[in-house]
């Protein structure tokens, strides 16, 4: 097959090949181009809920994780308009929860925080909601800190699609939406989730954390202290190599 027959999209002015059925996000990832995202992970089905992966497709704003790549589509992922929209989305996520970065174990390794830095977010723009969210520390090995949860649903999908457990779910509606243990008691200790589950290792923030291995790195040596997320990608600490500055974009 010659190059001319491979369908391509134009992403930020460069041709990016794709295979039939792939999303713009998948095509970009294959080509090593990072499109910011939070609720997307290549190992689980796309969700399209966080909207951080928005791009301009032939002039219209769409979520790249759920938009199929189409031959000849002109896609812009880093224009000022998109970056400004992304910043507003990140700001909304910050004010919707309670994000205390200074004491958070995921600070420096948090994808939400890293995107805020990458988008030059200097304030939250909107008024804080200051929601009253319960922390669940009942599990012997895991804590669920809903203050940090952005309701991205990644852990819910990972538990169902990879761990085959359905240990977690999103409950409530609207502003009351919250991550919950998918069991009668509603407590994490009864959910069946375990430390080695994929659901425990897919959170882009610090909502689900182990009860051991606290603050393993000092400031300056954490993932996003060394390089911005646009270079490193969405990397979990357990998958990060010590000196990695440009890893697999995921």
């Amino acid at each position: 097959m010659s190059d001319q027959t491979i369908p391509c999209i134009e992403l930020n002015g460069k041709p990016i090949p794709f295979q039939a059925g792939e999303s713009i996000m998948q095509a970009a990832t294959q080509a090593g181009v990072y499109i910011p995202h939070l609720c997307h992970h290549p190992d689980v089905s796309p969700h399209g809920s966080c909207r951080v992966c928005i791009v301009k497709v032939n002039g219209r704003v769409k979520a790249s994780c759920i938009t199929p790549a189409e031959e000849g589509a002109v896609v812009e992922s880093e224009c000022d308009e998109i970056r400004q929209l992304r910043k507003r989305l990140i700001q909304m996520l910050f004010v919707e929860g309670n994000h205390f970065c200074p004491s958070c174990e995921m600070s420096g390794q948090c994808q939400l925080q890293a995107l805020a830095y990458d988008l030059n977010m200097l304030d939250t723009h909107f008024d804080h909601f200051y929601p009253n969210r319960a922390i669940d520390c009942t599990h012997p090995d895991i804590i669920l800190d809903r203050d940090r949860c952005i309701n991205c649903d990644l852990c819910v999908r990972a538990s169902a699609q990879i761990d085959n457990k359905q240990a977690l779910s999103l409950g409530g509606r609207g502003q009351q939406t919250h991550l919950q243990a998918n069991c009668e008691s509603g407590l994490l200790k009864d959910s069946g989730i375990e430390s080695q589950d994929k659901a425990m290792h897919i959170c882009p923030v610090g909502a689900l954390l182990p009860k051991n291995n606290h603050y393993p790195q000092i400031t300056g040596e954490r993932i996003y202290d060394k390089a911005p997320i646009s270079e490193v990608g969405n990397v979990r600490p357990e998958n990060h190599q010590g000196d990695q500055t440009k890893g697999p974009i995921s």
Binding site: I135, C137, Y215, T219, E221
Partner: protein, 480 residues
């Protein structure tokens, strides 16, 4: 007439307010330093996982966060069931704390207090700041800046940041030092020790050159509380409590920190958010005490390093009976501690344990942790209770400035009685009140001594609470 003294609505950070209550004879019966800032740390850490404590509570302070970090660290060691850290972990913590004490003391003496001492307490406000010190005494100012920087460099090497880094984890530390980091820290050490020695000489000569005024100024004859090591050495990271009577007799020795709540209680007064700790056995009126550099130097039997020990002996020789009580001697004692920290840092940087990866111990989970440490400003208590799900259920923090609360009020009262003329408040008196407060190096002065123009208001009230006079200096230095 009822006078509202505290306005919690106007919680202007760092706004110092003093009221002086005089009787019919014009004698100041009571002085009140009002602390109107409300923090609430003890409540909002409830429910959090206990291992977050060192990182949360260090945000109490930007000057001595390491003290809060390590006090909480000691407490969570106990909660993790670890009674003895590995030698490398303990040495890293000690090194970090020496660096912290060195930088905090250097900041206070050179940046905050030295303008008063070098230019005089009544010099014009425009002159009483570190910029003026740099212009008039560049050598002294530069040494002070570099001393502070060195202490910060140690903190950064261990925790990743000069302020609010990450170091203590339950049962140990999260990272060893690298050999190249140790080599870098060793390079300026000879200068650091020489400058520290100079700092002691400066503090001593400034104190001695204006005798007997300095010995009497804001001076109080009080008990002193501090940690000492098991053999009575000066100690800031661990050890047990010692309390000396004003005449030097020992009231309590090797009192276990885990039972601090039997030794100390706290009184609440309706005019300040800062509590008033007192020794239970002596009661609220007789049980107040002082903490900090003066307490530590007065309480210990010796320093473990030669230059600091020689300086301590010279310091103690100033008082032929009892203990040195001069409030302004805090500055001198503070610089002796700087010298000791510099010597101790030099010794420990030759210890190979600092690069060891044997950093963490485990144990059987406990429900309580009590971490007591000597912060630069004095003894610091962190007490936590934790439920079986690892969440904090109770926190009690007695910070150093709190222990000196009554003493600061009494020092202000003494200054006012010695220097108040009639029923009129003068800028000169306001200056003296400020110098008395600053000697204790309270957090208030850290937060507010912006270029020597600490916003301060002094009110003079009669026994009926009626205002006789009032004087205010704004942050711009204007007197009103």
């Amino acid at each position: 007439m009822k006078k509202v003294v505290i306005e919690p609505v106007s919680r202007v950070e760092g706004h110092g307010k003093v009221t002086l209550h005089v009787d019919d004879d014009g004698q100041v019966q009571e002085a009140r330093l009002h602390i109107v800032e409300f923090r609430g740390f003890e409540r909002f850490i409830e429910g959090r996982p206990y291992w977050e404590l060192p990182l949360v509570v260090q945000r109490l302070c930007g000057i001595c966060p390491v003290s809060h970090h390590l006090a909480a660290g000691k407490a969570i060691d106990q909660i993790a069931g670890v009674s003895q850290l590995s030698a490398p972990a303990e040495k890293l913590r000690r090194l970090m704390h020496w660096g912290q004490t060195l930088q905090s003391h250097a900041l206070h003496f050179f940046h905050l207090a030295s303008p008063d001492l070098l230019f005089g307490m009544q010099s014009e406000v425009e002159k009483r700041n570190v910029v003026a010190v740099i212009e008039a005494y560049p050598d002294i100012a530069l040494k002070g800046v570099k001393l502070r920087k060195y202490g910060q460099d140690i903190i950064k090497a261990i925790s990743g940041k000069k302020v609010h880094g990450i170091a203590a984890i339950p049962g140990g530390m999260n990272r060893a030092l690298k050999p190249e980091e140790i080599r870098t820290l060793k390079e300026p050490l000879n200068d650091i020790i020489a400058w520290s020695k100079d700092a002691v000489d400066i503090a001593r000569s400034l104190y001695e050159q204006n005798q007997p005024f300095n010995a009497n100024f804001a001076s109080l004859s009080t008990p002193y509380l501090s940690l000492v090591s098991s053999n009575g050495d000066w100690e800031i990271y661990d050890g047990n409590m010692r309390i000396k009577e004003p005449n030097g007799d020992i009231f309590k020795d090797q009192y276990p920190c885990s039972e601090y709540f039997n030794l100390i209680n706290e009184q609440v007064k309706n005019w300040s958010y800062m509590k008033f700790p007192f020794l239970v056995e002596k009661g609220t009126e007789q049980g107040w005490y002082r903490v900090g550099p003066l307490a530590r130097v007065n309480n210990c039997d010796r320093f473990s390093t030669p230059l600091a020990e020689a300086a301590r002996q010279q310091f103690m020789a100033q008082s032929s009976y009892g203990l040195p009580h001069a409030t302004l001697a805090y500055h001198w004692a503070r610089m002796i501690e700087v010298l000791h920290c510099a010597e101790a840092i030099q010794d420990i940087l030759n210890d190979n344990d600092l690069t060891s990866e044997d950093l963490k111990r485990d144990g059987q989970r406990q429900a309580t942790g009590i971490g007591v440490i000597e912060a630069p400003r004095g003894t610091l208590f962190h007490h936590y209770e934790v439920n079986e799900d690892d969440q904090v259920t109770m926190a009690n923090l007695i910070v150093s400035t709190t222990s000196n609360n009554r003493a600061m009020n009494e020092s202000i009262r003494k200054v006012a009685n010695d220097h108040l003329s009639g029923q009129t408040l003068t800028p000169e008196l306001l200056n003296l009140v400020e110098v008395a407060i600053r000697a204790y190096d309270p957090c208030l002065s850290c937060a507010t001594h912006a270029m020597g123009k600490m916003p301060l208001q002094v009110e003079l009230l009669n026994q009926q609470g009626q205002q006789l006079d009032k004087i205010t200096r704004s942050h711009t230095g204007e007197i009103a």
